[in-house]
């Protein structure tokens, strides 16, 4: 032991002792470079572009913005985005809860496959997400002839756009619930079962309240992605302004038509939606932490009452 210490700290060698201390705390100049480059990266790639969006929108004065939001096609694109999100988000919320429930509660054939495939939309390009729906439901696709015969239009119309968006946003709710439900276990549900509760009562009264913050987090993430989706939707949308354009597609159209202030105005609106999402997400995390802290604090103050006689 003594020789070990001597080796690390030979007598009279202060330099070695110094480097030993600094091994855990980097020198000031390294810290400065590290923090500085992170900040520079953040400003260059995140903050600056965001401010430019709003600056671009305001470049020709607020009158252009006001006009932009009276334009029929632009208003229609906002409506389309909201409708698509209104279909995709509830669909993926229901699927996400069901998938998380099945994966964390049961052992079944194909469970591993389901767990792996849930992430698939995160790995593949969204364009592929759009393309597979064209291959399935397009005029020359598998179900194309049948759909044409029954006069059902999926591709180049709202159903296809909603489906492509569902594909792209499928992992978010399920992904935020699975680890949570795994950690929480099933004992509360089992307790509810022995108290006579049915499956729906357990879901509504026990499981959903337990996972509500995780669910909220997943839903707003899913919503942000649904409203911002470009690639998958652009493949299945006919890109007809005023009919099948969502906000991201409308932004591209305006930009290609050299209507920069209008393009930036819609982009700013979309960015604002994202910022609202970010605020909601942060608030949900605070609320979660606050509740946890509050319950912890009070439990420390609670004293144990003595126990004398049993139930009478």
């Amino acid at each position: 032991m003594a020789s070990f210490i001597d080796f690390r700290n030979p007598p009279g060698s202060d330099r070695r002792a110094d480097t030993a201390v600094r091994a855990t705390a980097e020198p000031l100049w390294i810290r400065r470079i590290l923090i500085g480059s992170v900040l520079a990266f953040f400003i260059l790639f995140l903050f600056l572009p965001l401010t430019v969006v709003f600056q671009g929108a305001l470049a020709k004065g607020s009158g252009v913005i006001a006009n932009a939001f009276q334009d029929h096609d632009i208003l229609h694109s906002i409506q389309m985005t909201l409708v698509v999100a209104l279909i995709a988000v509830p669909a993926n919320t229901a699927f996400g809860i069901a998938a998380a429930w099945a994966i964390t509660r049961y052992r079944f054939m194909g469970r591993g496959l389901l767990l792996a495939l849930i992430d698939l939309p995160l790995w593949v390009s969204p364009v592929i997400g759009g393309l597979i729906y064209v291959l399935l439901y397009g005029r020359r696709g598998y179900f194309g002839p049948w759909l044409t015969a029954h006069d059902i239009k999926i591709i180049f119309a709202l159903p296809g756009m909603a489906m492509a968006t569902i594909f792209v946003t499928l992992p978010f709710v399920a992904r935020s619930l699975i680890p949570l439900m795994q950690a929480q276990g099933v004992e509360e549900e089992e307790a509810a079962l022995t108290l006579g509760a049915g499956g729906f009562q357990i879901l509504w009264r026990i499981t959903l309240p337990k996972i509500r913050w995780g669910l909220f987090y997943g839903v707003i993430l899913c919503n942000a992605r649904a409203m911002g989706e470009f690639g998958a939707v652009s493949v299945v949308s006919a890109k007809i302004s005023g009919r099948t354009n969502t906000m991201p597609l409308e932004i591209e159209r305006l930009y290609n038509d050299y209507l920069f202030p209008e393009a930036f105005a819609v982009a700013a609106a979309l960015a604002l939606l994202a910022l609202v999402t970010l605020v909601l997400k942060t608030l949900s995390e605070w609320e979660n932490a606050r509740q946890f802290e509050a319950s912890r604090r009070v439990s420390l103050e609670t004293t144990i009452e003595p126990l004398s006689s049993p139930l009478t």
Partner: protein, 241 residues
């Protein structure tokens, strides 16, 4: 309410957790399942509760064959080692839960539910704490709430899975005495799982020693302590020393 356990078998994959167990628990009896961890005693209790289903065999409550019934139809109160209280509900709502999930036609009136929960809160000596949340209570208090919650629905039998396992020694002894007195008064047929012999011998009318998914000995605490069991039982209870 008697409990009949008949030729119960249960395997998890290739592992036989419960291996052909039969047992009759008389009305009003308090029976302890005592054994080392992994002996299958908790699995057996969960099969009685309907939280697990046996591969073969039968469970009856006083002649009512409940083998195929789900846990929510069996009216068997269950107390978990980790309390399993509903953390997002107040103590009051925890205890009232089983009364509120009853179909409307059979549900007690709002006032009756109120009355019963308040009297249960008094019985577990936590009067006035109905508005607290489980996280604001100590371990011993939480387990008392779990008892009250299980008893609120007037179960036919009471099943306890290591009910004092998560508590410190002092609270453990207190609650154990309380449970014994409670059983003395109500004679609610009870089954409880433990790995603590002292606990089993103090509280139970009969003790069932379980190992490797099979019953090794059944008897009153005195009979078992007399050393009449097999090598495993004597070894497990350290009766040879």
């Amino acid at each position: 309410m008697s409990i009949e356990i008949l030729n119960i078998r249960k395997s998890f994959g290739a592992f036989p957790a419960v291996n052909d167990v039969s047992l009759h628990i008389k009305t009003g009896e308090m029976v302890a399942f005592l054994g080392p961890s992994g002996s299958g005693k908790t699995t057996l209790l969960r099969i009685v509760a309907g939280l697990e289903f046996a591969d073969s065999g039968e469970i009856s409550f006083h002649g009512d064959n409940v083998t195929a019934k789900s846990a929510n139809e069996r009216k068997a109160g269950f107390v978990f080692q980790s309390y399993a209280l509903f953390n997002h509900m107040t103590i009051f709502e925890n205890i009232a839960f089983g009364l509120r999930v009853v179909p409307r036609s059979k549900r007690l009136s709002h006032e009756k539910i109120q009355e019963r929960v308040i009297s249960l809160l008094e019985a577990i000596q936590l009067p006035g704490l109905g508005n607290r949340f489980p996280s604001q209570l100590s371990g011993g208090q939480r387990q008392r709430v779990a008892f009250a919650r299980a008893l609120a629905v007037e179960p036919r039998v009471l099943l306890l899975d290591e009910p004092f396992g998560a508590l410190d020694a002092k609270v453990r002894r207190e609650l154990r005495r309380w449970l014994a007195e409670f059983h003395e008064k109500t004679h609610l047929t009870s089954l409880f799982v433990t790995h603590d012999q002292e606990e089993a011998f103090e509280v139970a009318d009969r003790v069932v020693i379980i190992d490797k998914g099979a019953i090794q000995q059944i008897g009153t605490p005195d009979e078992i302590r007399s050393g009449s069991g097999n090598t495993f039982v004597r070894d497990f209870l350290a009766l040879d020393i």
